[in-house]
Symmetry: C2
Subunit: 198 residues, 2 copies
Amino acid sequence: MPTSEPPVTLRERKKQRTRQALAETAVSMFTEHGFDATTLDALVDAVEVSKRTFFRNFRSKEDVAFTAARELWDAYLEALGEAGGTGPLLDVFRDTMLATLGRMDQDWYRRFPATLRLIEQSSSLDGYSRRFCAGVQAEIARRVGDPDRLELRLLVEFFLAIWNCALAEWLPDCVPGELPECVRRAFAAIDDSLRLAR
Amino acid sequence: MPTSEPPVTLRERKKQRTRQALAETAVSMFTEHGFDATTLDALVDAVEVSKRTFFRNFRSKEDVAFTAARELWDAYLEALGEAGGTGPLLDVFRDTMLATLGRMDQDWYRRFPATLRLIEQSSSLDGYSRRFCAGVQAEIARRVGDPDRLELRLLVEFFLAIWNCALAEWLPDCVPGELPECVRRAFAAIDDSLRLAR
DNA sequence: CGATTAAGTGCCACTCAGTGGCGTTTGCGT
DNA sequence: ACGCAAACGCCACTGAGTGGCACTTAATCG
């Protein structure tokens, strides 16, 4: 298997606890005082670790705030690898996303909306998010075919575009159960969208 | 008219000269030594202005590198305002882009590919670019209809997705005359793209 | 069980992007 | 020619992110 299992040693568990404490505290502090207004010094002070330790666990301030979203895409890419399935690629993308959303736990549905609101609020975090999704895009294209083929590249761009719109619809309330419906609606709107005229 | 014409005073011309010198020198230095590796201190030193002056002219390091791309979108939004035209919105978006590309001068076709290569090279600049385009997206949606309508939002997302793909096709060579053809090909690929299966 | 090893951490000094304050220059209008 | 305000230079500062090194502590092995 490609994913090497980490040894569940005490040292590893400790490190994961720190990681989780940082991610958890970060999102709550960012939510309370704003992403840009919260300094890393304040964060590492609250978690009682050194700034150096923070950067051993996360690449950047944006990275730690993006944890929940990264978990989703990790799960999505894994699901895309497993479930082969045939038929229209766009349907595969949609169904894989629906399946992935179904597998995320309750805690994730608490943390993910918080992350979305942070992204909405901070332009630097927004930039990070978009850049990250572009990376996911490239990875998806690489996995399902020739990533240099115009049609495939376009299709994957479309998929992420649709996902963005689904999130935009979901964002105001963020009721966990409604997200799949938002995704379905966004996918269903493609044809009408392309036919829009003025 | 909404665009207030600036008084063509000497002071204004001087300021524009430093602006242009900064943008020009920035792109050439970034191209030569890399975006991330070039410090602002080195740039303002080369142009012989203070760092303070740089930040009075540009919001950030990314901003100055993005000048050519911003010029395109400024021209695009202006063109979208003027040329009404009716019919499918997607055709309007495409034709407006083709018209805009036709109006850019030779110097722009020298600077724009340089900017694209910088974006390709630097992740922070890439993030800035994507965030900027998201703003353009919102502005386009606002101008042609109800920006909260799912179908419209989706369509504008699609347009930017297509544009990205067109640029990706153009990027290797960046022959000025070929860009419109890349745009047309990307738009023409939509149907085949959506029908892709595995 | 005790010694060795190395992962993980804390501390410190550093670079670089970006901001605020303030005094000075310089073009503009009268 | 003179007063005004825009633009500028200089300086000190914050905050993100990095590199180096000593130290702690958990894993490993005799």
